[in-house]
């Protein structure tokens, strides 16, 4: 009964998730009608195709999980593109059994650096992470000499990114593991409560005894770690690291988090929403590519969908005093 009640009269945090989920169904229906009409088949409904899309979506999903933590404390991390790329490049150039630990460590170090700058120097995260992104880009350009790196991903990286167990892509398992960890952390731990508290009002959280600096550093560190993980996986999936591999992940990740109902000013939003947001963006992309939509049309539709979704449920409150 409570489940039905929740659907009929969703709470403030659940409404966006419900609407986004309905929109996913709408995308699937519209896409299927299109393919049925044009090719006489329905690839969007085949489990294999959906699993393949989710495998590609796993990379975005992992990045979005970290991004969400940072957005929840009303910060933003613009260093994701080159953190991801740096992790991928260093992992492939180290190679061997240390490839994955090194990649993750790079992400973690960059994240901690971001966190220290934002928490202790109180530089606005928008500008500090932008600077860190430029530094990482500079380091990688100097490292590779400006050429495409010649090193390849290790066998293990390929297995966890592109391999399958029982027909289910391994990358999906990684995404699920990250999702469970983040969801449990946000809902069931003191750290999770502290993250929401800081996002709502940092001064109040500080006065209530929350170690705001520590939590901020942890959030950025985890965000860097997820970016590093995504970089390692992406390198494994495409068998190599390449310049600009992270560029396509920053804005979609932020969009996925926001479409999922997380307030861009922090303090509100559920992890389930981010999950739904990622799936929505991945499916939208795949339907648009089935329709052979040119890049121009994709960008316009992409922007319009974000605005429409937010007009439906993401509106802020009126300032009246």
């Amino acid at each position: 009964m409570t489940a039905i009640a929740a659907i009929l009269k969703p709470s403030r945090d659940d409404r966006p998730i419900l609407i986004a989920a309905l929109f996913i169904v709408a995308i699937l229906v519209a896409g299927t009608v299109y393919t049925w009409h044009r090719f006489g088949s329905a690839p969007l409904l085949s489990p294999n195709y959906l699993l393949q899309q989710l495998q590609i979506g796993a990379f975005l999903g992992i990045v979005a999980a970290g991004t969400m933590l940072v957005i929840l404390i009303s910060q933003i991390d613009l260093s994701i593109p080159w953190t991801l790329t740096a992790a991928a490049m260093m992992a492939t150039s180290v190679g061997g059994p240390w490839a994955i630990p090194v990649g993750l460590l790079i992400g973690l170090i960059v994240g901690v650096l971001n966190g220290l700058g934002v928490a202790y120097l109180r530089v606005p995260s928008m500008i500090f992470t932008l600077g860190v992104n430029a530094v990482m880009r500079g380091l990688m350009v100097a490292h590779t000499g400006g050429f495409a790196p010649q090193t390849g991903a290790t066998e293990f990286m390929r297995t966890i990114a592109a391999g399958r167990i029982l027909g289910i892509p391994n990358a999906l398992f990684v995404w699920i593991a990250v999702s469970l960890a983040v969801a449990v952390m946000l809902q069931r731990t003191v750290l999770g409560r502290a993250i929401y508290a800081i996002g709502n009002k940092e001064a109040a959280a500080y006065l209530a005894g929350v170690n705001t600096k520590g939590v901020t550093v942890i959030c950025f560190a985890l965000c860097g770690l997820t970016a590093g993980l995504a970089g390692v996986l992406l390198a494994g999936y495409s068998q190599k690291a390449y310049q600009g591999m992270g560029d396509a992940y920053l804005l979609p990740a932020i969009a996925a988090v926001v479409i999922g109902g997380t307030n861009i000013l922090g303090g509100r939003g559920r992890y389930l929403g981010t999950l739904v947001g990622v799936i929505l963006i991945v499916l939208l992309n795949s339907v648009l590519s089935i329709m052979e939509m040119p890049e121009a049309g994709r960008q316009v539709i992409y922007g319009a969908v974000i605005i429409l979704m937010l007009l439906v449920y993401g509106r802020g409150e009126r300032v009246t005093s």
């Binding site: 600077g131 940092e202 926001v258 605005i307």
Partner: protein, 369 residues
Amino acid sequence: MSDIAIRVRQNFAFLTAVALFFVVYLLYQLVHPKGFSSAVLVQNSDEVFTLALVAMAQTVPVLAAGLDLSVGALMTMVGCFASYLLTGAPEGTPLALDLAGFRIGLGTLPGGGTGILFGALICLAIGAGCGLLNGAIVVYGRIQPIIATLATGAIFIGVALFLRPQPGGKINEDLNWALTNSLGDFASTVHIFNDGAAPWFAPFAGIPTSFVILVLILLLVWLPFSRTVTGRTIYAIGSAEGAAYMSGLDVKRARVAAFALGGFFAACGGLFLAIQTSSGNADIPQAGAYTLNSIAAVVIGGTSLLGGSGGVLGSVFGAMILRVISFFFRVFDIAPLLQPLFEGVILLAAVSIGAARVLRVKNTLELFR
């Protein structure tokens, strides 16, 4: 404390940026083999102009505690429009748009100088209109600026790609020559002041035209605007939106105006970039780089990202500092591979030094705003 001391303290970040710019630029001119010549000035001014305008475009919404992530995209889109409208084709040439095989006739443009002026005005109107759209979505849709402009930025880039799937188009050569050189060349191209040979004109002939345009935009657009009630309201919103509302200021109108003016500045930048490169190019990485650099320029120029303090002039200096840093790489012959690293380190160092105030704060609660 005397009046001057208070003013210096209030504008400390801005004054630091100005001083820093003059120091690094003087150094650059001293080490440059052809330093202090008109040719170097012209080249530098042309390279700074677009970023300066995009940084100005970013500043106005930032003053109202918003952020415009669409400035680079808007600049790119206006540039693509310009590559159709500023060809300087003779009168009666049909203007048409190729959209995936469909050819849409849009009538004809007046030819010659009138046509170019008309085309430029259309481009600026498109920019201001798109800025207005941003403002309307933020104010009436009540969506956070950062995410609303992220979305409209995607739309603008999409339109730019429709217009120019491949880089191309053409800009009238005389227009390119007149605006990207010195005032003397400008005068001889448009045939004023005895083709630029008038004796009284000689002292001014070496000044870069683009620099003069920049100053004119500052004096004729920003200065009057910032003195109006709407202009002051933008600052008030950034300081305390609730207080501004309760004081009876038209908060909504000011915020829409901030985005519209930002769109206008971005359009000026896009127009110049198209004229400078003689083409329209829907370059997505370039658009992103301009957006991010504009934020950096705003911060370096002493405008608070929280809004309410700073100004457009500071951002112009911020943009100039960013550009001069890259000029240095040419003069000192530093390996181009290290250039991005240096840029990043300098940006980080600049904002970290600016963070020294954290050490002086006595009450930790003052840090949370």
